[in-house]
Symmetry: C2
């Protein structure tokens, strides 16, 4: 069972990565926030890469859980996509985790330890696969329309969402700007 300290280290690391990326957070930062010795962090996560991998692995799981719940409880494809896009709008609005950790790490890709890079790639693949599934269903039952195939539509949607996150971040966390970019992208699929 995951101890309290273990979880708090993960939480803090995640928050720090979201705001600074992989290269600009340190064990000392986490140590100060959690109120625990640096050595303790090494006890739970031997190296920095291990810590980052654990953070992304948990993030991937949470994403999969969220997507799975949506697949189970929301039958309409258009609402599923709106749920994905809207989730991030809310995150930016609440300023809690206003950026997709994987998108941030994607930018740092060339300087990432290989294990971390592999997790980032895995997240992208899973995310695209999930959304491709949603869109594919929607195209077949007529809830969605697109001139592109499902996978390409998914990739375009994700790219737009990530690009909109960047724009919102540059604008100081502007959720309206994010929405004004992503809503048309959504509407193009939902018709």
């Amino acid at each position: 069972m995951a101890s309290d300290t273990y979880t708090r280290i993960l939480d803090t690391a995640q928050a720090l990565i979201v705001s600074r990326g992989y290269n600009a957070f340190s064990y000392a930062d986490i140590s100060a926030v959690v109120g625990v010795g640096k050595a303790t962090i090494h006890h739970h996560f031997p190296g920095k890469a291990d810590l980052a991998v654990a953070v992304i692995a948990r993030y991937r799981q949470a994403t999969e859980d969220g997507m799975g719940a949506m697949a189970a409880h929301e039958p309409r494809a258009d609402r599923r996509l709106a749920g994905y896009v809207g989730f991030w709008e809310q995150c930016i609005r609440d300023n809690n985790a206003p950026f997709c950790i994987a998108a941030l790490l994607a930018a740092e890709m060339p300087s990432l330890p290989p294990e971390v890079a592999a997790q980032v790639k895995a997240h992208f693949d899973e995310l695209i696969a999930r959304l491709t599934g949603f869109i594919d269903e929607g195209l077949k039952n007529g809830e969605l329309t697109s001139t592109e195939d499902a996978e390409r539509s998914a990739r375009i949607l994700v790219a737009t969402v990530h690009g909109a996150m960047l724009a919102a971040r540059v604008a100081g966390g502007d959720a309206e700007l994010y929405a004004s970019i992503t809503q048309p992208a959504l509407k193009r699929l939902t018709g």
Copy 2:
């Protein structure tokens, strides 16, 4: 007149930032590549932030020059947009500077020195303004069509381009993937 060393420091810093971001490049890295003492870099650029600002300022100028040239020599709006989108496709394909420096720094925004952050914001504003101009012209003379206004169309295009860069980077520099995401976004405007 900009000395040779001065320019080579800028070039190297730019390349390093493109591949690693602001936080993960050091004076020592540049020193090793350029073959000049660390103190020399400080002589030309007193602080790290000064260096980064100089890199982005030069990048902004180059962008403005490129956009200005396009405005002067390419009368058709659709070809102007294709020029912008295609420029990055070529960069990814050649693997020379396969990422927009400002998009990368945008991700690191919260951990950037204020002067650097200001430059990033300025680049985004200029880029949007230029593309908005192109699109506005195109909509008026019928070369382009869109259900959105010019500025929003520009923001959507830029977001898609930046998101596609991320996707291509995760996929190990896949220019085809970049193109497969950006081409439909372009076609939506050029009809």
